[in-house]
């Protein structure tokens, strides 16, 4: 199998996790909270994929989230691409599990903030963006994104690493 397509197979392996989180959001729909894991989903691939592959993978993860939601196009995808470029050029920041946790929490939180803000700006006329209500909502989403990143990073990384092993993506040290 060509390594060039590794990002796509990895995407297919990651997609069920994203769908699973969407279904989790669905089950708590009355609470008006959107659960989010896309940021954490790019951490493990960024350790091993080549930069361009990681960039493509992250962009797709972002677009997948945006596709079914009224978020301005590209706002999440571009942020994830930025995160992917940073992570692939600072692989030492995610070389072990504790650092990966930190990165997952940071990237997931940042990405969550990005889509939340972008969506808020899209509805600026109807929604008071600068209000305590908005701040509370944002903190709640951020908190849940952090918790999910911590909870799901390990199983997600295991599956992603398993997929990458199967595809033949080099180990982190070799990739570096």
């Amino acid at each position: 199998m060509s390594l060039s397509w590794a990002w796509l197979f990895l995407l297919l392996a990651t997609f069920p996790w994203l769908l699973g989180v969407d279904l989790l959001s669905d089950s708590i729909a009355t609470s008006g909270v959107c659960l989010f894991i896309s940021g954490a989903a790019i951490i493990a691939p960024c350790r091993r994929l080549r930069r361009w592959q990681a960039v493509l993978f992250s962009a797709c993860i972002g677009f997948l989230f945006e596709a079914l939601r009224p978020i301005p196009d590209g706002s999440l995808a571009l942020l994830l691409v930025f995160a992917a470029i940073y992570l692939t050029s600072h692989r030492d920041e995610i070389r072990d599990m504790p650092r990966m946790f930190w990165a997952a929490v940071l990237v997931n939180g940042l990405a969550c903030t990005a889509w939340f803000l972008a969506a808020g700006l899209a509805y600026l006329k109807e929604v008071p963006l600068l209000s305590l209500h908005f701040l509370g909502q944002w903190l709640l989403h951020l908190l849940l994104a952090t918790i999910l990143a911590i909870l799901l990073l390990v199983p997600l990384a295991l599956v992603q690493n398993f997929a990458m092993d199967k595809i033949g993506v080099p180990q982190p040290d070799e990739a570096a």
Binding site: C34, D73, G74
Partner: protein, 297 residues
């Protein structure tokens, strides 16, 4: 310098360049991109929907035959009653059409009904949406009203090939006109979705209520569609007006919260009312070159 960082600067520059490019790209490209990723997920969403149906099937399977027989009997009775009602409604519809023609009164919009199962519910602070398993291939168009029985659920905002996104009544992208129960003069009021408070039921707002309006004594006022805008048929229930209607800051009018008609977050099946002819607003959103309507927001 770390090997990993080689070329990072170029990547950042490329990212900035791409971001700039992305902003000035024709909207058709962005739309295509969005559509592609939506279609990528469509089979999975169908699968989820089918999974729900299967779960429901197995749940029904677990019921006793007696229970199912009783349910079937009840259904048969309801069906018979509905048959009769359909006949009488048919006569009324013909009479209505004849009278409207006589009075040269605009004919009410004709709709084709498409029943759709709900795949996934999408909620956040900024939107309340559902994704249904009917799309362009089933004739669904952006802007179509979505109902459950005589209750308004929302309206279609984006249509994909086999799925559609529906903005619920409580979503900020939704707005329509309504009459209030108990308002003898039938003032037109404005209903629009509002961003929901987290961990609480989503709400819509009813605004531009005349100052003199009093809800019917001892009852919660129903909020019903006017049928004047050519999108929603008249008399559908949008919800109920919550007590504690407040005056606006200018003290000119009243404003209140709307509790949606159906518990929107648990809905499993909806009907999409597709107008026989596209409305003027729909034509407005259709770019001349594509013939395909843009997202209705």
């Amino acid at each position: 310098m770390d090997n990993n960082r080689q070329g990072a600067k170029a990547s950042y520059v490329a990212l900035v360049f791409f971001t700039g490019l992305w902003m000035i790209l024709p909207s058709a490209v962005r739309r295509f991109n969005r559509e592609a990723f939506a279609e990528f997920q469509a089979p999975a969403l169908h699968l989820v929907g089918k999974g729900r149906d299967l779960a429901r099937y197995w749940e029904l399977q677990s019921r006793s035959p007696e229970e199912l027989v009783a349910a079937a009997r009840d259904l048969a009775r309801i069906n018979a009653a509905l048959e009769l009602k359909i006949h009488s409604l048919d006569d009324a519809r013909k009479e209505n059409t004849r009278l409207r023609e006589m009075l040269r009164y605009p004919q009410s919009t004709e709709f084709v009904t498409v029943v759709a199962r709900v795949s996934v519910r999408e909620t956040s602070s900024w939107w309340q949406r559902i994704i249904i398993r009917k799309g362009r291939s089933d004739g669904v168009r952006p802007g179509c009203p979505v109902v459950f029985g005589d209750r308004v659920i929302g309206r279609v905002s984006v249509v994909h090939l086999t799925t559609s996104e529906v903005d619920l009544v409580t979503s900020p992208g939704f707005r329509c006109t309504a009459f209030l129960e108990g308002d003898d003069q039938n003032h037109v009021v404005h209903v629009s979705g509002r961003a929901g408070l987290a961990l609480s039921a989503p709400r819509a707002m009813v605004s531009i209520i005349p100052l003199g309006y009093n809800p019917p004594a001892g009852q919660i006022a129903k909020v019903m569609t006017t049928g004047l805008g050519g999108v929603f048929p008249s008399g559908l229930t949008l919800g109920t007006l919550e007590t504690g209607v407040q005056t606006t800051s200018e003290k000119h009018m009243l404003t209140g919260a709307l509790t949606p008609a159906k518990e929107l977050s648990f809905i499993q099946e909806v009907s999409v009312l597709i107008p026989k002819y596209p409305t003027a607003g729909e034509i407005l959103l259709t770019p001349a070159d594509t013939g395909k309507a843009e997202e209705f927001r």
